[in-house]
Symmetry: C2
Subunit: 311 residues, 2 copies
């Protein structure tokens, strides 16, 4: 039987001695020129084929270096059905290479609809009593706005499949505060920001199913672009694994992510997307070497500036 998600994640981070997550957010304009030329048919199928080839090659490069990858569903979806097929192949190859795969799709809905989204990533969809994989990740991102019974189907599917869920808590975009920062009245006349209330629900869900490493299977997405909030959230949610976007291209520094970790270096995954997959000019022939160098550089930087160095 598969190990608990948090333990699998911890083992993968220990094996690679880092917890960098490579975000696979393919963008046509940022692809190597050679690769673009071979797929330049003026069709979405051509774009999807280019995305697939690029991501599969990135996987070959980073699989030996990092424990986790995070394909961004939006860019594949924007290529239509052939893009979704490319996403499927990228997820499958990453799993075959032993990587932990977080499908970043920020899904949300209610009841059986949420179950449909959840099963597609976590555990597969049942046809004639047989579960068939669709986009078979280890975990997925979800949006909490719809509340308790909208989150629960994702937890149910994750637990049946020994997978994980990362709930948006504090996102890394400049305008995140419009709702996330609203002050919510709490007991005793005090108040706290909405994202903290969401974080507390995430903590309660995560505590329901802790792994041996001490972390639960429900994580929180907490942007590195709010460095003052990370230490506070880590204190409030000691057993919640954090997925930290915003490092690198979005402006967060390695040191900004330090507070996301437990002292032993577990408990946080730091994502870098463009910082790695767009670390070269399109003209660059040996772009895989640039991807290797950018990955190694990010790992080194994070290990020296955060508890990741203790892994």
């Amino acid at each position: 039987m598969k190990q608990h998600f948090a333990d699998r994640l911890a083992a993968a981070c220990k094996a690679k001695k880092n917890s960098l997550c490579v975000g696979l957010d393919p963008r046509w304009d940022l692809l190597p020129l050679d690769l673009r030329r071979r797929h330049q048919t003026g069709t979405l199928d051509g774009v999807a084929a280019a995305f697939e080839e690029f991501c599969l090659r990135v996987l070959d490069v980073v699989a030996g270096l990092v424990p986790v990858v995070k394909p961004q569903s939006a860019f594949f979806e924007a290529c239509g059905p052939s893009g979704m097929l490319a996403l499927q192949r990228v997820v499958e190859k990453a799993r075959r290479l032993g990587l932990i795969v977080i499908v970043d799709s920020k899904r949300n809905d209610i009841a059986t609809t949420a179950t449909a989204y959840a099963e597609a990533v976590l555990g597969g969809v049942s046809v004639d009593g047989v579960r068939l994989p669709v986009w078979p990740g280890d975990a997925m991102t979800i949006n909490p706005y719809l509340g308790r019974d909208a989150v629960e189907p994702f937890l149910t599917c994750a637990r049946r499949d020994r997978g994980g869920v990362f709930v948006l808590v504090r996102t890394s975009n400049p305008g995140a505060g419009l709702f996330q920062d609203l002050r919510v009245a709490s007991a005793g006349g005090s108040s706290k920001p909405l994202y903290q209330m969401v974080g507390e629900s995430v903590a309660a869900w995560s505590e329901e199913n802790l792994g041996e490493c001490g972390f639960g299977d429900v994580g929180a997405v907490v942007g590195a672009t709010h460095p003052d909030e990370l230490p506070q959230l880590r204190r409030l949610l000691p057993r919640v694994p954090f997925l930290v976007p915003g490092y690198g291209a979005q402006g967060g520094s390695a040191a900004d992510t330090a507070a996301a970790f437990r002292a032993d270096g577990l408990g946080a995954i730091v994502n870098s997307s463009r910082g790695i997959t767009a670390s070269f000019t399109p003209e660059e022939k040996d772009w895989p070497a640039a991807v290797t160098a950018a990955t190694t550089r990010a790992i080194k930087e994070l290990k020296s500036a955060t508890p990741m160095g203790n892994l």
Copy 2:
């Protein structure tokens, strides 16, 4: 040039003399038995083909009766790439039949990622300077939790394409209140629920671009299962079109939706999914007749209990 989204929606509702939206949420277990048998291959491709055939036939039945349909992305996605192809064909056929199509996918992300989600539905994705349609709806549902700059790319794409966006404000599920009902501190020491704050942002976005009918191109999803909140939201957001789920199978009555409308019958679309597309037993041979009857019945019920009767 295309008309403003709210004016197109109003014209469609006036032409059909109702504002019922048929939700296309195909579920294998609820499909007609005959249809299932013909596609029973034990594969996701078989399920996708069954969903497609079923939805296309439903479209033929309802296109003359209602102004709007709302395919639910989750059920198509759960069939993998072939499901996404089915979704594409369903959206395309609905548009060809002159229906307004709301793609219900509750998408959300930041910056260029949000743009990728938005363009796929609203206006198409640019390849070599040519915009290619992906799932070419008239509008889509989005989740507001990520804030201002996460919503804006959807508005930009909607406005370029003269389409619309429906933002989740108050959802119809029993557990919706976990975050949506939190009391948020507002000016003057008073407080109001989070969903109202979200609603006020939606109103501000919608006012930026009003149609001749007086409604904007940014709508709000407001469940019929909270009938006491509908009149209050309609008062607070007089120019925001409402998409009202929860009528029928989810427990909301026709009368519960009445407050969503402006006195002339415009301003609200009431959705029914299972109440129409699962209005027959799987053994029923003439299930299209049952769909016609259920649609006609729902329209009659809504017209007698709400201002929809004034259309």
